[in-house]
Symmetry: C2
Subunit: 442 residues, 2 copies
């Protein structure tokens, strides 16, 4: 089998007597990785090996800074400690759990590409001020680009949070890729029941070795928030403007990435942010769930992955529903137009899905505002078919919530009542939030 | 066959000797409709008949204000003139083409529902000041809730615009439901080649018989803009804030409905609006295509309906692609995360689609910003598979453009170059628009 390696990298592989498929340890004085040596597909590269880590992630590693060593199968955990600790017992205990993403990545100057390469300990070493804010413990949970994070990874994160809190953590920071950080924040908001401390998701829009990086400030603010914010909620902490002046903590169920590249890409939708973080101070902006000493924390982290989101558009073909109906999915989030509409040409398929036992909910692609399916005939007909309106939930939050609800029960009445209940700040009544809303549309 | 009608409405139907399936004329002194009498499914209503109009739209009509009359098949056009005219020859000629939606609807006080019931002439009669701004001609093209508007309806609108311009119109107003008005605006932007006059799409978020209605001001502003704006572009004109102070014209390819109910629900994304309209004055805000006297206007209005949009989310099942691949669709718009990413679990299906001849493009669910698929390995792998990046186009505009491009050619090289070319202001270079963009992410 042609390994695809050539030039210098092939020489190194041969010299070490390594073969594609071998389990190897690659390390230098700072980092170490174990994984399976993978074949190479990029033909123009003579400097990198590809390692498939145990979490399935393929990592490209430059061989010139690493020593390579063949391992027997399964000899792995001892080589890369999952936890590392630095303690100043007088400071609040904060755990940093790294999951991958730009905040934990480096630019590959050869290709211009960004790859996840920094461990939580690396981050800590890059921002030594963290040690003055909190007594830090770090865990590398996995290293995934966030577009590849799946519901099962939400469950791992929820269980990791529970573990750290039971071990005494007074705040949790989770470093995460920004692409799907909003989805994860919503998932943890539903999954962590009885949360006594803040869980702060943090990412960066620019990798930490770029001059414009937001990684340092975001991470510092996240540790500060985890250590000393008065709320016990899941939030996303990112820049509040494109300058380095201030940070903002968004409630996990209300946050959406709304720009591809700006540092202040995240916004709270249909809600005030939880807090502003500026000059080392946390200013809480509204109602919140308070910190507590109780230890009733529990991870209800079963998510039903057989849920899909279908966005409406002119001419949306009814065929799109076929595999969902045939493969017997459990839930559909319709991302409809306006107040919660979908082309009437799809009503037959929607009815089939509901009659077949699927839960179908309606959110709006408008993003801001509230679905109201009583205004137009389209909405009323969908309600009659059994479609459940998602109120002022983000479509992404409605998706995560439906996955979570279907993971807890399969009783149709309970599914409906749980979906309609405000569980983690994801639904508000009109009077609670009026900044972006004027008088109603009915 | 049980017609579903009962009570008073059944008495009327029986008295007129009408049956479900009959072609009937329903009219009073103001309006008249012809269509097929449909069976009734709402069991608690004794006051309305349902008429299927010739464009397929089902209309509910209260029988107490109407006379009903059975027609021979096809006797229709003479009863409902398509065009109505009021001329003051000294004023600019503006045509108002009505297509349905809230701006052309009335609240049904029995059910609280809004139904399309006003013709273009009704609108004109409701806002007599229009006659002081322009010499108005009206056409009822169809009456559809905009969630039911399909690409074939875009083609009808494009052809109607061409007809009115050839007949001397110096500006066109199209009244339209707000749900999909942005999609239609993009479609007309691509379809109308050599446009010499403004085409102003206008809707309202509150029906015209409600005190808070934005219908009057929007319609007046639209006629003013059509009559006297210096630009010859397709735009959407709506409120610029929730108060009644000013209106704003958004370029057709850059506009998105971003709130379910606010009067200022529409925003320009990744671009400045075309113009502000306030106190009877039009202030143009940037570069624009100028009005001309030329008559090279042409409707290139073939849209390929075999195009779908798939939005990414954590755990998106690969099954979603099956019907698209099996049914041999022609194009897919991926609404990815961040800079243009999709879970790698779908790469196999995306490759199959492209290898099978489909065009696959990538836009971002972030809405604001620009896809850049060279930064992360995920993006670069998708580019290698042949995915075409949609730059800073809205996902909705990318969808409409792909439908349009595939309607013009099936040569893969041409499809790619047309999709990547800025045709109607839908793509900008970084330097052209920096308000919401800071330094790039690479």
């Amino acid at each position: 089998m042609d390994s695809g390696y050539k030039g210098k990298v092939l020489d190194v592989i041969k010299a070490q007597n390594l073969q594609v498929g071998d389990r190897i340890l690659a390390k230098n004085e700072k980092v170490s990785f174990t994984g399976i040596l993978m074949p190479r597909s990029e033909l123009d590269d003579e400097m990198h090996i590809i390692l498939k880590l145990d979490d399935g992630y393929n990592l490209g590693l430059a061989i010139d800074s690493l020593s390579l060593q063949k391992l027997p199968q399964e000899e792995i955990k001892a080589e890369q400690p999952a936890f590392e600790e630095r303690s100043d017992p007088s400071l609040p205990k904060v755990s940093i759990i790294s999951t991958g993403g730009t905040i934990a990545s480096k630019v590959d100057y050869k290709t211009g590409a960004v790859s996840p390469a920094l461990t939580a300990m690396d981050l800590y070493q890059l921002v030594p001020e963290l040690g003055k804010i909190a007594s830090i413990r770090t865990e590398i949970l996995f290293s995934l680009l966030s577009e590849n994070i799946e519901p099962k990874n939400w469950a791992s994160m929820a269980r990791a949070v529970v573990g750290h809190v039971r071990d005494g953590a007074q705040g949790i920071v989770i470093t995460h890729g920004t692409d799907t950080m909003g989805y994860t924040a919503a998932a943890l908001s539903f999954a962590l029941k009885g949360l006594p401390v803040p869980v702060v998701l943090v990412g960066s829009q620019r990798s930490s070795d770029r001059p414009s990086s937001d990684a340092y400030l975001n991470l510092k603010g996240a540790v500060l928030t985890a250590a000393s914010a008065p709320f016990a909620e899941v939030c996303v902490l990112m820049h509040c403007s494109s300058s380095d002046g201030c940070l903002v903590a968004h409630r996990g169920t209300r946050v959406r990435k709304l720009h591809t590249s700006r540092r202040d890409a995240f916004e709270s939708v249909n809600a005030q942010p939880l807090a502003k973080v500026e000059g080392g101070k946390i200013e809480v902006l509204g109602e919140y769930r308070k910190r507590s000493m109780g230890s009733s924390l529990e991870a209800k982290a079963t998510f039903d992955e057989d849920v899909v989101l279908i966005k409406s558009f002119p001419g949306v073909p009814t065929d799109l529903f076929d595999p969902i109906i045939h493969r017997d999915f459990h839930g559909i989030v319709l991302e409809g137009t306006g107040l919660g509409h979908f082309p009437s040409s799809s009503f037959g398929q929607i009815k089939r899905a509901i009659d077949g036992g699927m839960t179908v909910v309606m959110a709006s692609q408008c993003i801001w505002g509230r679905v109201n399916m009583n205004v137009y005939s389209t909405g009323r007909e969908l309600l009659k078919l059994g479609v459940i309106p998602a109120s002022d939930m983000l479509p992404e939050t409605a998706l995560v919530k439906l996955m979570w609800v279907l993971g807890q029960t399969n009783d149709p009445a309970k599914i409906r009542s749980m979906f309609l209940e405000n569980m983690a700040g994801e639904i508000s009544t009109r009077s609670e939030y009026i900044e972006k809303e004027e008088e109603s549309s009915e």
